[in-house]
Structures are given as C-alpha cells and as structure tokens.
C-alpha cells in the first residue's frame, strides 16, 4: 500500500472544494448576522472625491452617469446611495443618465433607499433613462442635451422639467460622477478632454488599476473604489450603511483566503520535499 496517500499533506491536497466553499460561506455570513465593526481607514482617493463634492456650492449641477450592469450593481450600490445622500444634503441638483439598459431600473430601486430630504423630482433631480450608443451617445449628450434627450425615464417631456431648463450642454454641469463597471476612457474623452468638466469615478474594484493613471494625471479628481470605497464614503458622510457590513464580511473572507493560500503553499512544499 502506498504510504504517501495517508500523509496529511496528501489528504489536504485532495480536499473536496465544496468544504472550502462552505467555510467561505460561513466566514462571509458571520459579519452579516453580527457586524464586527472592523476598522476601515479612509483612502486618499475616496477622501479627494468626498472633498471635491463637499466643496461644491448649493445649487450646483451634477451629472450622475451610470454604466453598471445588474450583476455588478451590488458593488457600487452602497457608494451610489452615499453620494446621492451627500448631494441631496447639500441641495445640489442631480441629473441621472444611463449608458446601459439595466441602470435606469437599478437606480430607481436604489433611490428608494436614499433619504431625499424633501427634494422634488423634476426640480432637484431627474432620471433621464437609458441612451444607447455609448461614446456616440455621450458625445451627443455633452454637445446638445436637448438634442438627444426628449423625455425622461417616465416619458415626461424635458421641457416640462424645471431642472433641465438651464442645462443645455456638458458645460452647464459643475461635476460629472461616473458610476461604472466599464472603461472610463470614453467619458474622459467626451467630457474631461472636450469640455474640461471635473470628473469623479465610482467604479467596481476591478477597474481601479486601469483608472489609477487618470487619477494620477488629474483627469479625474477623485475615485471611490468598489464596495470598500462605498463604505469609506458612508463613513465620511457619517451614515454607515450596507457598505460597512459588506467590508466586514469581505475582510473575514480575505482572512480565510490568506490562510488557505498559506496552507496551499505549505502543502505544495511538503509534497515536493516528500517526492525527493
């Protein structure tokens, strides 16, 4: 009988993956049932985004452009709730537009979780809905808002919406917030490079490395990265929400991942030594 099969390292190497999935589920579930309140330092990029938004005077106009599919929405939703709460608290006017088909419905659902502080639809904020074409739609919107947008998400002609009266082109916005799970380059080209409008990015964590050069170059004034950025923004506006709980769960999940990585390496080395 082969003795190596009975070694602990061999047994561990052949461990059923489903046991690891179960362990991960338990690790993620604990902080959801009982939040741990693990410390969360605020990153510079999130602080920059917060400080820029906070410096905008009351009555400023902000474009919230969305391009996040339904599958990735949970990652940016806490940040979106936090930024909308921040904007409404400062009486900043918000125009929401979507470059993807999923977002108008998603943002409607998200808006039910935001304290609007008595702000009125059509006067203080508006949801313009979905516009196909990506960069062509972005360029058309930036050049002539009324040329592209005829009605809002609910079918109201935009001439009947007071908020849209003074918004003719990208130049009328004080800030663009791009909530995205895709490349930021088209928005940089059509809003920042073409019109010099400051931009803040709310992105899924996967896009952070790609967006960093734009932050370093000053093409975006701040960045709120994924769920962690959302949690940081919640802390900055002093309204901890689902982002903080999620980061707790993620931290515990990562501790388990690190332990498993170390264990995997130890097993690999011990098997290697055993073979010699």
């Amino acid at each position: 009988m082969d003795e190596t099969k009975n070694k602990p390292s061999e047994k561990m190497a052949k461990l059923d993956a489903r046991i690891i999935y179960l362990a991960m589920f338990i690790a993620l579930l604990i902080p959801i049932l009982r939040p741990l309140g693990l410390p969360l330092p605020i990153s510079d990029m999130t602080r920059k985004a917060y400080e820029y938004v906070d410096s905008l005077p009351s009555g400023s106009k902000v474009l919230l452009a969305l391009h996040v599919s339904v599958g990735l929405w949970p990652e940016v939703e806490p940040g979106t709730i936090a930024i909308l709460s921040h904007l409404f608290s400062k009486s900043i006017k918000v125009v929401i537009i979507s470059w993807g088909a999923d977002e108008p419905v998603l943002v409607e659902s998200t808006l039910t979780k935001v304290d609007k502080m008595g702000k009125q639809y059509g006067v203080d904020w508006v949801n313009l809905g979905y516009y196909a074409g990506m960069e062509t739609a972005m360029a058309a919107f930036a050049k002539d808002v009324h040329g592209l947008v005829k009605r809002d998400f609910y079918g109201t002609p935009i001439e009947n919406l007071p908020i849209m009266k003074d918004i003719k082109s990208a130049k009328d916005f004080n800030l663009v917030i791009y909530d995205t799970a895709s490349d930021i380059a088209p928005m940089i080209r059509q809003f920042v490079a073409a019109y010099g409008i400051p931009m803040v990015a709310f992105c899924t964590i996967g896009w952070v490395p790609s967006f960093m050069p734009y932050l370093t170059a000053g093409q975006i004034v701040g960045m709120v990265p994924g769920i962690r950025g959302g949690a940081e923004y919640e802390l900055l506006i002093k309204r901890p929400g689902s982002g903080a709980t999620t980061t707790d769960a993620l931290s515990l999940g990562f501790i388990l991942l690190i332990v498993l990585s170390i264990l995997g390496n130890v097993i690999w080395y011990s098997r290697k030594i055993g073979m010699r």
Binding site: F25, L28, E75, R189, A193, T216, A217, G253
Partner: protein, 206 residues
C-alpha cells in the same frame, strides 16, 4: 407585507439558491435558473431599447423633426443582413457607425490618453511614488521591445536587469488584478447573502 412582494422575495431567494447549487454540482436546477436569467435579461434589454426608440424618435417626429427618420431607416437597414442577397445593404450603416465611433474617439484620444498621460509620467514628481511609477513604467515598456537587444557584456547585463524589473512589475500588476477580481466576486456573494438574510427576516416579520 403585500402578497406580491412576499412572492417576489421568495422567488428571488429560491433562484439564488438554484444558482449556488452549481457549487455543489452542475444540475438541471442550475440550468433552469441560468436560462431564466438569460431570457429575462434579453427581454429586458429589448424592452428598454424599443422604449428608447419610441421615446426619442416618437417625440422628435411628433414635433416635426423629420430628420430623425434617417437614423431610423439606417437602423432598419442593419436587419437586411438576415437575408443573403441584401447583406450588402447592412454594411452601409455599420460602416457609418464605425466611422462616427472612431472619429469621436479620436477627438479626445490624443490629449486624454497620450499627451496628458505621458506628461503625468515624465514630469518631476515630489513623491517617491511618482519616481517609482516612472521607473517601473519605463522598465515595463522596455520588456516589450522585441526587435532589438544590446550586444556586449556590461550593457547586456544592465539591459537584462531592466527586463527583469519589467517582468516583475507585470507579475505584480497581474497579482493585483487577481486580487481585485476575487474582491468583486466575494462582494457579489456577500450582497446575495445580505439579500437572503434581509428577505428571510422580512418574510418572518410578515
């Protein structure tokens, strides 16, 4: 809680478990959930697209802006690709789309993605981070020079060291990319767990 809301929550929770059943084993249950999702997503996309056309085109025509008929005709021309003898007609709107898209992208591309990025990389940095970024960028770019390599002992040694730093930089970047990917997937999992816990508490509370 209203019956319809409760039913919606129950269906969503059941479908989440049906998708997660894949972690145990790929099965008929998983496939039902997968195909339902694909079908609903496609249906939703079609409804939103048609909604946008009627919203934009209908509104424009109703106020006498007949110029919008041209993009509508161009859009319809794309469907000619489903009938072989008329495939050539579909190439015209596609060519127009590609041309307009490329032209628009080129407008800001040089400034946004070349000049500003190069200036940001080469300009003197106050922080040590900036200097490291500049050095590592150059080492990484050098790694992709495949058409030339120096001859001679010491020059070649120095060049190989630069290539090695470039390779390590790429590996670090890939490691970071894997890390962020793991974060995204775990976030989605946590979000579903939160949804299930919240839904069950709401259902129990009535």
């Amino acid at each position: 809680m209203e019956f319809i809301s409760a039913l919606g929550l129950i269906v969503a929770v059941i479908f989440t478990f049906m998708i997660w059943s894949y972690l145990y084993k790929e099965s008929f249950i998983f496939r039902i959930a997968e195909y339902t999702f694909i079908g609903m997503a496609s249906g939703h996309a079609v409804v939103m697209a048609v909604g946008q056309i009627t919203k934009t085109l209908g509104s424009a025509i109703s106020v006498g802006q007949y110029i919008w008929v041209i993009p509508a005709i161009l859009g319809l021309m794309i469907y000619t690709r489903y009938y072989k003898p008329t495939v050539w007609i579909s190439r015209l709107p596609v060519a127009l789309l590609v041309g307009v898209g490329t032209g628009l992208a080129m407008r800001g591309l040089i400034e946004a993605q070349f000049i500003t990025q190069i200036i940001s990389t080469i300009q003197p940095k106050e922080t040590i981070d900036g200097i490291i970024i500049a050095i590592l960028t150059m080492c990484t770019l050098t790694y992709f020079i495949f058409t030339w390599e120096p001859k001679g002992g010491s020059t070649r040694k120095a060049y190989n060291s630069i290539l090695r730093i470039g390779r390590i930089t790429i590996m670090v970047a890939m490691g970071a990319a894997f890390g962020v990917l793991a974060t995204t997937r775990l976030t989605l999992c946590v979000s579903r767990l939160q949804f299930i816990v919240n839904s069950l508490s709401r259902l129990i509370a009535g």
